[in-house]
């Protein structure tokens, strides 16, 4: 028989009022059910290349859809129930509140499973997480967007932002390098970007095949084609780890200040909330403090690039 005087009472945290509300990842301190995702329908799937597909998602619940607001450069955790969760950068416009577009490469366990999913299936997203590109700070300057391979996916969000506010920016260049012509993503949008939005697009291919008409080589060779005004330029770099160093060093030599170069880092992530430590670079969380860093902070982070 228990002596009631000495029984420690159960304290439930579920009872607290805010635990029952839907998680609002933008107002971080209020959230309790940090593992509860927003349920989405896959409304459209576009095959971009052999390896990449573009998934268009729509959050089912109206309230949740209103809450989900992100900034260019942020990422979300995409959950495929039964398989797991993956961090994916958002590559649609942040003014598009109806649909979210994610460009996904078939690379691991979860993304491979995701490639077998049909339109109309339900997945879940958590987020948005992380830092974003300072679009307001960039306004009034030239912008250099440098993408390598799949790096164009996170850059598509700032590109949309620039396109929607084109009058606020001076010259905008998109430098895009891939291994083979068949790996070029979003080719169907190239004309739109160039002709309607007046973004100068330079694509380069490392191993050209027969039909490729453009330049061939590595991405730094594209810098010969454009004139950069270091005083008045912001650079945004995204690509595989090997690309950062050579591109950023080149831009540094040109005289672009380090705090005007932004990189978006890639790391393994399991939580997105600065808890699991898988994405840690030195003492910095890529998921909370990043994935967008300016080059100065990256230089200070050991082993970042």
């Amino acid at each position: 028989m228990l002596d009631k005087r000495f029984v420690i009472p159960l304290q439930e945290i579920n009872r607290e009022a805010f635990a029952s509300s839907i998680p609002d990842f933008n107002h971080r301190s209020e959230i309790m059910k940090t593992d509860m995702g927003y349920k989405c329908t896959i409304t459209n799937i576009v095959r971009l290349t052999e390896q990449e597909k573009l998934f268009q998602l729509r959050i089912i619940d109206n309230r949740e859809r209103d809450i989900f607001k992100f900034k260019p450069g942020q990422f979300l955790m995409l959950e495929l129930p039964g398989y797991g969760e993956v961090p994916i950068s958002i590559s649609s416009s942040n003014s598009n509140h109806e649909f979210i577009e994610l460009c996904i490469r078939k690379a691991g366990h979860v993304t491979s499973a995701l490639f077998t999913v049909d339109e109309g299936s339900h997945v879940a997203i958590r987020g948005p997480f992380g830092s974003s590109f300072p679009m307001d700070e960039m306004a009034g300057h030239n912008v250099l967007l440098i993408a390598g391979g799949l790096g164009v996916a996170p850059l598509r969000a700032p590109l949309f932002w620039i396109n929607e506010h084109r009058d606020r920016f001076l010259n905008v260049h998109l430098l895009y390098g891939v291994k083979e012509p068949s790996q070029l993503l979003f080719t169907y949008q190239f004309d739109e970007w160039e002709l309607i939005n007046h973004i100068t697009l330079h694509a380069i291919v490392e191993h050209p095949t027969g039909e490729w008409q453009g330049k061939s080589g590595i991405i730094t060779e594209l810098f010969d084609d454009i004139s950069i005004d270091p005083e008045n330029t912001y650079a945004v770099v995204c690509g595989p780890p090997v690309m950062f160093k050579c591109v950023c060093n080149y831009l540094d030599k040109l005289g672009i200040p380090m705090n005007r170069m932004f990189v978006s880092l890639e790391r393994r992530m399991h939580c997105g909330m600065g808890k699991c430590c898988r994405c840690m670079v030195g003492s910095t969380f890529t998921c909370v403090d990043g994935p967008v860093f300016n080059y100065w902070s990256v230089m200070n982070l050991k082993e970042a690039i």
Binding site: D3, F6, R28, K39, A107, P241, G274, K275, M280
Partner: protein, 359 residues
């Protein structure tokens, strides 16, 4: 904080009352090692006599009550080509008896990491709120270096802390729950003499540390020595087994895995404690490993333990219990690694300074 003194016989009655009415865990001897030294673990206890209050240190830490090795984060129920996500934060009240100051400090650090910041962890909060912690001071083991990390004395994070002052226990009461329980027992306010005995006891503990690590300026040394050959030397010894992180009272890195139930009616998202020394810790899909070498991973562990958190919260994660050093299969311990790193530094110094002249 309220201070009381309780006689040992009365203390036994008090602990018995707590233990019999709650699910309780305390240190118990499980085995002895090849040298004949007793090995302890925190295990369920049924009465005061089960608890080995004079234990040295447990092999695993008390963090597993708050961060279990496997923990269900959420559950997916499949039905009609759709699914439903369910989350529960269930934690039953438990009593933890006999935690050492360094163990409690580690809990305070975990509180900082997991409950402060942008995304407080409700899973941890549920467990932390429902745990009644009774601390107990002890004389350090020869290889403990808690004093160097300033964690040999703890002033918060427990419900009740007991210091052994001879015939009595000197109690530091840090929660109303503990105060209410103690109302039922014979306690009294400490006399001057007992305050003196507490001061003596604390002095004795702080003077008994045989191992010392100089951690002044360690964060910047770790930065400067980032490319030091010391890391490769110790990295070559490391077996990448991850034992150190499992026994560490303040390591919290984890991995999230999802598994389908065998009847295909649902799936479970589980959190599993992980170690940064395991090979695939920083490996991304597509095969690129951001920390491919043993030395890189070992360095990262020290970096995180002694520098990473220091920069963010002005505190080191390591509490100095040396569980990792004791558990390591290839005899890597923080004392040697950090001293090695410092020697590296001092050998440069002798090169710079002119040597004293000899007659």
């Amino acid at each position: 904080m309220i201070y009381k003194v309780i006689s040992k016989a009365e203390f036994k009655r008090f602990i018995d009352a707590l233990v019999r009415n709650n699910s309780s865990f305390g240190p118990r001897q499980v085995d002895s090692d090849f040298r004949g030294k007793a090995l302890y673990q925190f295990l369920p206890v049924a009465s005061f006599d089960d608890i080995a209050l004079d234990y040295t240190a447990t092999s695993s830490s008390a963090k597993h009550f708050f961060l279990p090795f496997r923990e269900e984060l959420s559950r997916f129920i499949f039905h009609d080509e759709d699914w439903e996500q369910q989350i529960t934060y269930d934690a039953n009240p438990i009593v933890l008896i006999g935690l050492r100051p360094c163990d409690i400090s580690a809990l305070n650090i975990l509180d900082d990491v997991l409950l402060n910041g942008h995304y407080p962890s409700p899973y941890y909060l549920a467990k932390r709120k429902n745990t009644f912690v009774i601390g107990m001071d002890h004389l350090p083991l020869p290889d403990c270096f808690c004093k160097s990390m300033n964690h040999h004395i703890v002033s918060s994070g427990f419900n009740l802390f007991c210091s052994d002052i001879g015939e009595e226990y000197y109690l530091s009461i840090n929660s109303s729950k503990a105060f209410n329980f103690l109302k039922e027992f014979d306690t009294r306010d400490p006399l001057d003499e007992e305050n003196c005995r507490l001061a003596e006891r604390r002095k004795l503990i702080s003077n008994s540390f045989l191992t010392e690590i100089d951690v002044t300026g360690l964060p910047s040394i770790l930065d400067i020595e980032f490319d030091s050959p010391v890391w490769e030397k110790w990295g070559n010894k490391c077996l990448n087994c991850g034992t150190c992180a499992m026994v560490c009272p303040s390591c919290y890195c984890y991995s999230v895995e999802e598994s389908m139930e065998t009847n295909l009616n649902g799936a479970v998202r589980q959190k599993k404690l992980y170690s940064c020394n395991l090979v695939d810790f920083a490996e991304v899909a597509g095969g690129h490993n951001f920390r491919p070498k043993n030395g890189d991973r070992l360095k990262y562990r020290y970096y995180h333990q002694h520098r990473g958190f220091a920069e963010n919260d002005n505190q080191q994660i390591c509490v100095g219990c040396n569980r990792c050093g004791r558990a390591c299969l290839s005899d890597i311990n923080p004392k040697n690694v950090i001293n090695d790193l410092r020697m590296e530094k001092e050998s440069c110094l002798t090169n710079v300074l002119s040597s004293p002249c000899r007659r």
